[in-house]
C-alpha cells in the first residue's frame, strides 16, 4: 500500500517535472522573437556597417564593373561570410554609383550589357528584365522597381559599401 503510494507520488513528481520542462520550453518560444529583435548579437548588420569593396576609386570608370567582396555575418545559427556583389561606376557628374545586382523581379543577378541586343542596359538572364544604367527598371519588362543602391563612403581612396537601399518603382 505504502509502496504503491510512493510509486504514484514518484510518477506525479516526474509528471510535474516534465511539465515544468515543457513550461520552460513554451516560455522560451514565447520569448525568443523578442530576443531576436533586441539582442545585438543576433542582429544581421548594425547600421553604419561598411565593408571594403576591394576597389580603389581610381579604378572606377564610367563603365559599370562588377565587384565582389565578403562580409562577416552572425545570424543566430551560423557565423558566415556571405559574398556580396555590386555594379560600380562613375556617373556624368563624376559621382560613384554602386548598384545591387539583385533583380527586383524574383532575385536573379543582373549583368551590365548582359545581352548583346540591349547595350547600355543591365540585363537579367532569368526573365529578360532590364534596367537603365542608373538602375531604373524599364517598363514592359518583369521588374517593377529599380535596382537597389548601396550606401557608400570613400576612405583613403578605397570604396566602402554598406546596406543596399531599395527604391520605389518607375
Amino acid at each position: 500500500m505504502s509502496k504503491e503510494k510512493q510509486q504514484v507520488s514518484r510518477r506525479q513528481f516526474l509528471n510535474y517535472s516534465l511539465m515544468g520542462v515543457g513550461g520552460f520550453m513554451a516560455a522560451g518560444l514565447l520569448v525568443s522573437p523578442i530576443r531576436m529583435a533586441i539582442d545585438p548579437v543576433l542582429k544581421k548588420t548594425a547600421a553604419g556597417d561598411y565593408a571594403n569593396a576591394g576597389i580603389s576609386v581610381d579604378d572606377i570608370t564610367t563603365e559599370p564593373q562588377r565587384v565582389d567582396w565578403t562580409i562577416e555575418q552572425v545570424d543566430g545559427w551560423y557565423q558566415s561570410k556571405p559574398s556580396k556583389t555590386a555594379w560600380v561606376y562613375k556617373d556624368d557628374n563624376d559621382e560613384i554609383v554602386a548598384l545591387s545586382p539583385i533583380c527586383t523581379h524574383l532575385g536573379c543577378v543582373v549583368s551590365w550589357e548582359g545581352n548583346d541586343q540591349y547595350p547600355d542596359q543591365f540585363f537579367c538572364p532569368c526573365h529578360g528584365g532590364r534596367y537603365e544604367k542608373d538602375g531604373t527598371n524599364i517598363p514592359g519588362t518583369p521588374p517593377l522597381a529599380p535596382l537597389a543602391v548601396y550606401e557608400q563612403k570613400v576612405e583613403n581612396g578605397i570604396l566602402f559599401l554598406g546596406n543596399a537601399i531599395s527604391r520605389k518603382g518607375a
Binding site: L106, C126, P142
Partner: protein, 148 residues
C-alpha cells in the same frame, strides 16, 4: 531559390516564372576523403548557381547514393525524383555531378546532366580555387541558359 519554407511560399506565388530545377548528385562512401571533398565543392557550385539564377531556378536537396551500388537501381531512383519534380510542373531538370559514371548512362536519365571534370583535392579558401569556381559557375550558367 532553395527548397525551404520561405522560398516555397514565393514559389507558389510565382510558379509560372520558376521552371528549372537543379539537383546536386553526390556519391557517398564514408572513408573516402576525396568524395567528401568533392561533395563540399559541388555544394559550393550548386549554391553559387542558385544565387545567380535564384528567380528561375530551384535548388533541390542533394541526391546521395552509395558509391558501390548497382547503377541501374540508381538510374531508376533518380528518374523517380525527376518524374515527381516534373509534375509541379518544372520543365528543365539539371543534374550536377562530378561522377563520370552518370555520363555513361546519360541517355537513360530523364534530366540534363551537367558533368563537371573532377577536382581531387585542394584548398577551398585559396584564390585559385575561388577563381576556378567562379569561372566554372559562369560556364554552367551559360549552358543552363541555352535550354531556356
Amino acid at each position: 531559390m532553395k527548397w525551404r519554407s520561405s522560398d516555397l511560399k514565393q514559389y507558389q506565388n510565382a510558379k509560372e516564372y520558376i521552371d528549372t530545377v537543379i539537383i546536386p548528385i553526390i556519391p557517398f562512401q564514408i572513408d573516402l576523403e576525396m568524395l567528401a571533398f568533392q561533395s563540399e565543392v559541388l555544394t559550393i557550385f550548386a549554391n553559387e548557381i542558385e544565387k545567380e539564377l535564384a528567380g528561375r531556378v530551384m535548388l533541390m536537396p542533394t541526391y546521395s547514393y552509395l558509391k558501390t551500388v548497382d547503377p541501374q537501381s540508381e538510374i531508376n531512383r533518380i528518374n523517380a525524383w525527376i518524374a515527381n519534380i516534373k509534375e509541379q510542373p518544372f520543365t528543365n531538370v539539371f543534374l550536377l555531378t562530378f561522377d563520370a559514371n552518370w555520363k555513361k548512362n546519360e541517355k537513360e536519365v530523364h534530366g540534363h546532366l551537367l558533368w563537371l571534370p573532377s577536382v581531387k583535392s585542394g584548398n577551398l579558401q585559396s584564390n585559385e580555387m575561388k577563381a576556378m569556381i567562379r569561372d566554372q559557375t559562369n560556364q554552367i550558367i551559360e549552358l543552363i541558359q541555352v535550354y531556356w
